[in-house]
Symmetry: C2
Subunit: 130 residues, 2 copies
DNA sequence: CATTTGTTACGAAAATATTCGTAGATCAAT
DNA sequence: ATTGATCTACGAATATTTTCGTAACAAATG
């Protein structure tokens, strides 16, 4: 369906995707400046990575102006789901709720977030009663 | 602290850890036979991987008999947490509860598991009220 | 005891991922 | 128009991960 999707992003590629999902879109320099804060690599390294990602179909780009503008070509949600599935299977022995417990345990969540989760749990239960 | 821990497991290494966490311990052949079901690699490949993992301190081994017996040297929980943290930061933009919702959404969880999560949520809320 | 089978050790090839140097293009400012 | 800054393209070097062939040895089998 989508023109590309078979390539799973590497570690570095995920970092770039994360940035673009947040920003919506951006130039190589935009991305690089954010990346620099947490990572130590040169500009052309980021450039090359983003070019590769474009080839793979992970990024779209607008080349109408000299400075190209990139955005993610795969959705955050589907990528999240794909990574979660693999993680659940390999490390959590297939148990999604085990992952949930572990995630809740060591991260501080606001009351609002907890409520959202509870509400969601209720919805799931309602569905299952049917 | 621990004799080793600085080396984060690679993709393949995680698969082996997952197997050993389940089994408790096992020989190369034990692990390989399970691995084979989902992966296509030779016996010596698995052997080599486990030897490397032992060097890195990811596995312990008992060499008292000819056929060595391995077990995980790092805990499932700490590894899970480490992976979750990275995933939350790069892909879920720092929101643990976003990860939780996504995980609950697309995986079927039993009523029992859902109850456990709810109970856990309540405990967290109690703590926060203090 | 010779042969087959199963095991570890080891080195190195192959495959992937990451990094960067350099060249050429474009554009803005002198 | 020359200079300087910034950008893309591209190739290649590095680094990392994965894979496997081969040798050596031990144990079991005939």
């Amino acid at each position: 369906m989508s023109t590309a999707k078979n390539n799973k992003p590497t570690e570095s590629e995920l970092e770039i995707l994360g940035i673009l999902w947040e920003k919506g879109s951006g130039t190589v320099r935009d991305v690089h400046e954010i990346l620099e804060k947490s990572k130590d690599a040169g500009y052309t390294t980021t450039l090359k990575l983003m070019q590769i990602m474009h080839e793979k179909g992970l990024l779209k780009r607008d080349t109408s102006s000299k400075t190209h503008v990139y955005e993610a070509a795969i959705s955050r949600e589907s990528t999240q789901q794909q990574l979660l599935n693999k993680m659940i299977n390999t490390v959590f022995n297939g148990s999604a709720s085990q992952l949930v417990l572990q995630a809740l345990g060591n991260h501080h969540s606001s009351q609002e977030e907890l409520d959202k989760i509870k509400q969601y749990l209720n919805e799931i239960e309602q569905q299952q009663k049917k």
